[in-house]
Amino acid sequence: MTTAIVPEASAVPLRYSAPIGGVAGTSFKPEHLQAILSTGRQCGFFEVHAENYMGAGGPPHRALEAIRRDHPLSLHGVCMSIGGPQPLDKAHLARFRGLVARYQPALVSEHLAWSTHETSFFNDLLPLPYTEATLARVCDHIDQVQDAIRRPLLLENPSTYVAFRESSMSETDFIRAIAERTGCGLLLDINNVFVSATNHGFSALEYLAEFPLAHVGEIHLAGHAEQADDEGDLLLIDSHDGPVADAVWKLFEIVIRRRGGVPTLIEWDSKIPDWPVLQAEAAAAQAILDRCNQTATAGDRHAT
């Protein structure tokens, strides 16, 4: 079977859709399609994993077209393997470009991670060392993606469980250098910051203070699970299978006060709840965005 997207996709012009500003959105899960369509047009946006829509046709595209008709879309790539040492998969990049052309998403993002080595695809977001060599390779890969889609990509900070002995710079320095060298934007996953901070024993607040917030074009919020490491210490797992933790909500509010409103996604990928539960999480994020927006507006008036 071929895996082509629509055959004409390479001829479809790449166009931006309108910026969406400080609104909250959710992952789109096919099991919620009827509930979403019966509610009608809503404020907010939906995010999908690009790879789930890389088939040639069938029900997935019908569902995504129905969603896209009334809502802005965020296209979130999971498998580009941007952080890996080997060259990007050209066929995969062409499929990704085809989806950007077909659905004209408001946001396009990928991960600072890798998932393919040689011919094997591992279906996980694997970590990389932060060195001059990996920095150069990641920047080359982002150049290629941005050339293909003709727009800035938003790159997501990872959640990690191990560190590399060879790393010579901090994650925030590494990410800042990527953004400065490639012009890409950043997707700040605040749950990932919280998970990594716990797992590696650093301060999430300090990480956020060093993170180049001016480049952030989207925020992710998600739930995590708890395990233990070899020493019996808490190890957080980026599981996306539950509500956003209180500590992550607090960090979110701090970031929004500092950065201003940006599109914010509630990510929920397994043990998927009924649509109203997901909707309520998005409403909670929207309330924080609105509150910070009002404060900022009041501040502006006061200043003039």
Partner: protein, 259 residues
């Protein structure tokens, strides 16, 4: 420093992902020199569980037949010996049916691999390119003396799976949660898988129907395809087979082949 040396982390990180007997790679650590065993095992677990889940999503009837414990043990062997080579997981598992045929503990279920083949074909049909199916009226537009030379263009979703067992009946009985009665597994059944619009259909082909549909789908004109079907099965009924295939959405259009 040569760049390949600087970028060797992936080659060091991956071998243990599908091999639980390997220790965590020496290039990684926890904070302050802490051990990385359980930490690295998170990645191994993510890879293993997500790939087993991917097979379970592609093969729900196989899993229902074997039960989840049997299925996940069998799938774990398979993902370790044949990890995916494409980032598109809906393409994964093409070698799973052959693996089941060889799998020691599945030998008492000789029809299980054919059920898997139908499920793999089902997913191919689900993701296939959209195309309008051929209407019965299109066939009627051709003069009867030219029918024998007609070539039937296969719909992108069309798949045929042949089985020496009652694979279609077993598949159909296990794709949902309804109770399954006793099934005589010994009747050979051939599956026709189509997706005329958005719903995948799996039907049992009549005698000779699989040969006929395969020949037509390969581009052979009607005359030759019908002759092959009659060769394979003297009871082959041409009219009902053509009607059945068109009704199921097996084709998109007609062309006149070389007479």
């Amino acid at each position: 420093m040569p760049p390949e040396q600087d970028l060797s982390f992936a080659a060091a990180f991956t071998p243990g992902l599908l091999d639980p007997t390997r220790a965590a790679p020496a290039i990684v650590a926890g904070p302050n020199g802490k051990a990385a065993g359980k930490r690295y095992a998170v990645y191994r677990n993510n890879v293993t569980v997500s790939l087993i889940d991917a097979l379970a999503a592609i093969y729900p009837a196989v899993q229902r037949i074997t039960g989840p414990d049997f299925f996940r043990a069998m799938a774990r062997f398979h993902i370790r010996s044949s990890p995916p080579t494409s980032p598109l997981l809906f393409e994964y598992g093409r070698e799973f049916a052959d693996f089941i045929t060889r799998y020691e503990y599945a030998q008492t279920m000789p029809w299980l691999a054919d059920v898997a083949r139908i499920e793999r074909a089902w997913l191919d049909a689900y993701h296939a390119q959209d195309a309008a199916p051929l209407s019965a009226a299109a066939l009627a537009a051709f003069a009867s003396e030219r029918l024998a030379d007609l070539v039937f263009i296969a719909h992108p979703a069309l798949r045929i799976v042949r089985s020496s067992f009652s694979a279609v009946t077993i598949f159909a009985a296990n794709r949902d949660d309804a109770p399954v009665g006793r099934i005589d597994a010994s009747t050979p059944e051939d599956a026709l898988i189509t997706r005329p619009e958005f719903d995948v259909m799996v039907r049992r082909l009549p005698p000779g129907g699989a040969v006929f549909a395969e020949r037509l789908a390969s581009g052979e004109p009607l005359r030759g395809a019908a002759a092959s079907a009659l060769d394979a099965c003297p009871d082959f009924d041409l009219a009902s087979n053509i009607t059945g295939l068109i009704e199921a959405g097996a084709f998109t259009s007609l062309a006149l082949g070389d007479a």
